[in-house]
């Protein structure tokens, strides 16, 4: 079954790839659900971005008609109407929700129905600790600390074909994140250029050293060092073919000179190299805005600006690869409805996330956000979690990567999907 589908799909890809320099969105969509990637052919890729520190979803995508929110946030609330004394109102998405003005880059994606927002997303575990909430979200088991694998690692395992490449799962971080812990191969890379055994000005020496290292790691008694050593040398061999130093993004895309911009740029390079990457992970920091988070300008505005501009640069750069991609953001929880005494917000519950791609049920704010009257809030203070993060993650994995074994991907979960993908 799988191999036949794989064969058909691979053939189709090659054909259109040559003829048109890319695959039209409508064609890939038609077969997306039955698609299994073939070896060394272009594959579907899911790119996840973890916003560490807990993004204030109510400021990113504001229910601006909500009077309770306005009252709870005397200095943080923004309006979608012009003429309120501010130069930059929210971007009105649907008469009820407004996108932060610093995320203007996202607007066209939303209007083109290629970006969906889920509001009120979060974890059923009510912890307000960054560490726990991130741990639970990345392990995918919100009530079990002991889960030794991360959900992205399990996703790699469920792709249905053996890794032909160590780059099946890639994290653009200097160490593997919790999401990628586990038995399936995954690589952490902070800089593609460093991915080799180097001895400046002494190539032969470097090659000999590499050979020795490979031997040593192959025979060490430490399982951890042995396994990682093997992965490392496999990876070197794959990357050795390309010049990553002089990368020019396509379509005049300009990546912000930020950590996230740099990560996404390298993900783009890996995709264009066809190294067989199917799951990619990057991080964005600075969301823990307890103190002076700002409104139209300030820390939060800068953060969402970087987030949206980085993602849109990546999207633009990917050009003809766009049909292969789904980009999804996530954050451990949201922040208090009420602003705190220090111009910021404290740890809360529900937040929102963004999903971009041609297969996304876009142009909609999914999920449920009730009026933010105190009686509707969790513990009388936080935006209620109305959509389990696993519902959204599993739907994206299913519709985009054809991973439909939810029992393995998210054990302990048997909820419903909400239709964020078409």
């Amino acid at each position: 079954m799988t191999s036949r589908r794989g064969f058909l799909k691979a053939g189709g890809l090659a054909l259109f790839g040559i003829g048109l320099g890319g695959i039209p969105g409508f064609l890939t969509e038609a077969v997306a659900n039955t698609r299994a990637p073939g070896l060394f052919k272009r594959k579907k890729i899911m790119v996840c971005i973890f916003q560490r520190g807990a993004m204030d979803g109510l400021m990113a995508v504001t229910p601006f008609t909500d009077q309770y929110l306005k009252a709870a946030r005397p200095t943080l609330f923004m309006d979608a109407a012009r003429g309120n004394g501010k130069n930059t109102p929210l971007i009105d998405l649907d008469g009820r929700f407004g996108l932060h003005p610093s995320m203007a880059a996202f607007e066209s994606m939303f209007r083109d129905k290629r970006m969906a927002i889920v509001h009120g997303i979060g974890s059923p575990n009510t912890t307000r600790s960054h560490f726990d909430a991130q741990d639970y979200m990345e392990s995918g088991t919100p009530f079990r600390k002991g889960t030794d694998s991360g959900w992205l690692n399990r996703a790699v395992g469920l792709l249905g074909h053996d890794a032909a490449t160590p780059f099946q799962g890639v994290s653009l971080t200097s160490s593997l994140p919790r999401s990628f812990y586990g038995d399936n191969p995954a690589v952490a890379i902070s800089n593609l250029q460093d991915f080799n055994i180097q001895l400046k000005g002494n190539v032969k020496g470097a090659n000999m050293a590499a050979k020795s290292f490979e031997d040593l790691y192959d025979t060490t008694s430490s399982g951890l060092l042995k396994e990682t050593g093997k992965e490392s040398f496999d990876a070197i061999k794959m990357l050795s073919k390309v010049d990553v130093k002089n990368y020019k993004p396509a379509n005049n895309a300009v990546y912000p000179a930020s950590a996230l911009g740099n990560s996404l740029k390298q993900i783009a390079q890996l995709i264009k190299m066809d190294v067989g990457m199917e799951v990619a992970f990057a991080e964005s920091g600075g969301w823990d805005t307890h103190f002076n988070q700002g409104a139209e300008t300030g820390i939060f505005a800068r953060n969402v600006n970087d987030l949206s501009n980085s993602i849109m640069a990546f999207w633009t750069d990917m050009g003809t690869y766009q049909d292969d991609l789904t980009v999804m953001t996530m954050t451990e929880f949201g922040r208090t409805v009420k602003q705190n005494g220090t111009g910021g917000t404290d740890h809360g519950r529900g937040s929102c996330n963004f999903i971009l791609g041609n297969g996304v049920n876009g142009g909609l704010v999914h999920g449920l956000v009730n009026p933010l009257a105190v009686e509707n809030l969790e513990d009388g203070r936080d935006l209620a979690v109305t959509t389990d993060f696993r519902s959204v993650f599993s739907e994206v994995a299913d519709k985009h990567l054809n991973i439909n074994n939810d029992k393995v991907l998210f054990p302990d979960w048997d909820g419903n999907k909400i239709g964020v993908m078409r």
């Binding site: 560490r52 009077q67 306005k70 009252a71 009510t126 600790s129 960054h130 560490f131 600390k145 200097s174 160490s175 593997l176 995954a186 690589v187 952490a188 890379i189 902070s190 800089n191 460093d194 991915f195 055994i197 001895l199 400046k200 002494n202 190539v203 032969k204 020496g205 470097a206 000999m208 050293a209 050979k211 020795s212 290292f213 031997d215 040593l216 025979t219 060490t220 430490s222 951890l224 060092l225 042995k226 990682t228 050593g229 992965e231 490392s232 990876a235 130093k245 740099n262 600075g286 307890h290 103190f291 705190n340 005494g341 220090t342 404290d346 740890h347 105190v374 513990d379 009388g380 203070r381």
Partner: protein, 667 residues
């Protein structure tokens, strides 16, 4: 009858002599009362010494012959000396002398190394820079203006402060004779993590490590906890500096939204209704002047991460109540341009003489402000904190947390994870926790219990820990007796290997397990680090491989391999390593190849990392300049020390591979 009497008298006499004698010998340390059970685990004394060195130092120093030195002192006595941490450090102190910023107080730092934003604000205030030009198009000119302004005022860039801070840590770790104190400083800093990623707390971090952590690493846990709670770095990092409560009647004042969930049924509904009414009336009111409010961040993390542990048995209500206890704990004002001008005004109004009378507590950089304190009654972990106790109730709270059985277990497990293995046995943790509770949280005693336990010497502990990138780098320079002229270059490598020192953003600190450190990208960088270090391609890090072996040239390549493996990794079974590396030596054309390559070699770039920031480059250059100054006495030759020329001998390559080998990653 006579004999017993005689015995009795002579006993008295002896006792008298002993008392007399010991009164003259006050300096003499107490006798060692513990024994390490390594023989039961089947280890020789040499192997035991090597294990101690690998766990309680940053690695053996070849030149010092560390294993022999430990044997000479005696294992237990050596450990006691390391716990006491009073060995002289003259040569290290000489090295540290050139860093003029590392002994500055927080106030001095605030006034000499203004945060980037502050310098700009002052420049605007002084009319040097136009407000509208900030963040405008011509960045270059604008930056120059700021720079000129800073120079004219005698202000220095903050990066210089941090460069010196990183450098001192690297030099201390590499060269101090009190190795265990340095390891514990690292451990407790990571336990009470604060991060340079948070700008507002960054400038307080050098003093935090120096004054809050380092002096307390082997004392009582409670002392450490209280010192961190009162430090500007922690107060700022976890936001408690800004947390305040209403100072009003006990029953009304504490009815904040956060406490709503604490109350039962009707009362909660009422409180919520009241809050809502209040919130709605605020709707069109102009933003009130910044006045503070409750912030739970520190209260939560002090329980979850510093004391009880996440499963330590506390609830959200305990967190909120503890946060109320700690309201009013904040940072004292720091000089003219430093932090806290509003507090300064407040204190001036009250007057120095009246501070204590009014319930203020001013202790160094710490300030308790009674008017910001929620003076209502609180209930934390079942303990009642009566109203109006001010500063003292916070101290009581922290003391209660420091002595809690969950804390004993949590700290014991964390220490065992750091020093024994990634998954320490429950029996070991229980023993250590018991000592913790029995000794009022005496860290020294807990450490002694740990090393006196068979679990420390068991086969599943030996070589089972993976070095962190920092530990790898420091152990490598120690094992090669490297001379560190530009410590910042090591900082850059440690960062590349996956550990950005002082920049771990979360209050959890770096995870302490091999799995976290070892992954594909990081592992390759470890190998590259070994090669770069041994071949002298790291600028400012000088290695003399010949001196390492007492200037004896090994008879053959094979002999060199064996000799240097043993020098770098004493008391390890190296059969496999040597066997695997031998083919490397058997290439007949090896020397030719290497030399040809060397002739063609371009001078190594100072930085080649694509994602290195301009800041890093600047700091590296500053480091280089500092090194040049330090070497000035040697004339022109000195610049050779500064810039690595690269050593392409086969020996350098072998040593590089040993440093990057799997065996050397373990400790």
């Amino acid at each position: 009858m006579k004999t017993p009497v005689k015995v009795f008298y002579s006993f008295l006499f002896l006792l008298g002599v002993t008392v007399l004698f010991s009164s003259f010998q006050k300096e003499k340390p107490a006798a060692i009362k513990f024994v390490f059970p390594y023989k039961q685990a089947g280890l020789t004394e040499r192997q035991a010494a090597a294990h101690l060195i690998s766990r309680f130092t940053y690695g053996s120093r070849t030149g010092e012959g560390d294993v022999d030195a430990v044997l000479k002192i005696g294992l237990e006595k050596w450990f006691q000396q390391q716990l006491d941490g009073k060995i002289k450090d003259d040569s290290l102190n000489t090295l540290l002398h050139k860093f003029d910023a590392i002994n500055l107080s927080n106030t001095e730092v605030e006034n000499q190394y203004p945060r980037p934003g502050l310098a700009v604000r002052m420049a605007i205030k002084d009319g040097v820079i136009n407000k509208d030009s900030v963040n405008k198009a011509n960045g270059k000119e604008y930056r120059k203006q700021v720079q000129d302004y800073m120079e004219s005022k005698g202000y220095k860039p903050q990066q210089e402060l941090f460069r010196q801070f990183f450098n001192q840590k690297i030099l201390r770790s590499a060269y101090t004779n009190n190795q265990l104190h340095e390891l514990l400083t690292d451990f407790w800093f990571n336990h009470f993590n604060v991060s340079l990623t948070k700008n507002q707390s960054a400038s307080f971090i050098p003093a935090y490590e120096r004054d809050v952590i380092r002096p307390n690493v082997t004392g009582k846990f409670e002392t450490l906890l209280l010192a961190t709670a009162k430090s500007p770095a922690m107060l700022m990092y976890l936001d408690n500096f800004s947390s305040s409560g209403q100072q009003t009647a006990v029953s009304e004042g504490s009815m904040q939204m956060n406490d709503g969930m604490m109350l039962n049924g009707k009362a909660a509904a009422k409180a919520i209704a009241r809050n809502r009414a209040k919130a709605l009336t605020l709707k069109n009111a102009p933003a009130k002047k910044k006045q503070g409010g409750l912030n739970e961040n520190y209260a939560r993390e002090v329980m979850e991460l510093h004391t009880l542990g996440v499963d330590g048995g506390y609830t959200q209500s305990d967190v909120t109540q503890a946060a109320r206890v700690l309201t009013g704990w904040t940072i004292a004002p720091m000089g003219e341009n430093g932090y806290g001008s509003s507090m300064k005004n407040l204190m001036d109004r009250v007057g120095d003489a009246n501070l204590e009378k009014r319930g203020f507590v001013h202790d160094g950089d710490f300030l308790f402000v009674p008017t910001r304190h929620d003076n209502g009654e609180k209930l934390v972990l079942g303990k009642r904190f009566p109203a109006n106790r001010g500063y003292d109730e916070g101290v009581e709270l922290l003391s209660m947390l420091a002595h809690h059985p969950s804390t004993a277990k949590f700290i014991a497990k964390k220490l065992a994870t750091r020093f024994v293995n990634d998954n320490p046995a429950t029996a070991l943790v229980d023993k250590m926790a018991k000592t913790f509770l029995k000794t009022d949280g005496d860290i020294k005693q807990v450490m002694i219990t740990m090393v006196s336990s068979p679990e420390f010497w068991a086969p599943d502990a030996l070589r089972e820990k993976t070095k962190s990138p920092f530990e790898l780098a420091i152990s490598a320079v120690r094992s090669l007796d490297a001379q560190i002229n530009q410590p910042y270059q090591l900082y850059v490598w440690i960062n590349k290997m996956g550990q950005k020192m002082y920049f771990y953003q979360a209050p959890t600190g770096f995870p302490d397990r091999g799995q976290y450190w070892i992954n594909t990208g990081a592992l390759l960088n470890r190998m590259n680090f070994g090669l770069a270090l041994a071949s002298e391609r790291i600028p400012g890090i000088k290695v003399n491989l010949s001196a390492m072996n007492g200037h004896h040239e090994p008879e053959s390549a094979a002999a060199a391999l064996v000799t240097y493996s043993k020098l770098i990794m004493p008391e390890r079974n190296l059969t496999e390593t040597v066997k695997r590396l031998t083919p490397m030596l058997n290439d007949p054309e090896l020397m030719n190849k290497v030399e040809t390559a060397a002739a063609k070699a371009a001078p190594p770039e100072m930085k080649n990392s694509m994602n290195s920031t301009g800041e890093e480059l600047m700091m590296a250059k500053a480091d280089q300049d500092a090194s040049k100054v330090a070497n000035k006495g040697y004339g022109k030759k000195a610049s050779k020390v500064v810039m690595a020329n690269g050593n392409n001998t086969m020996l350098a390559q072998v040593v590089g591979v040993i440093i990057g080998s799997p065996e050397f990653q373990r400790k």
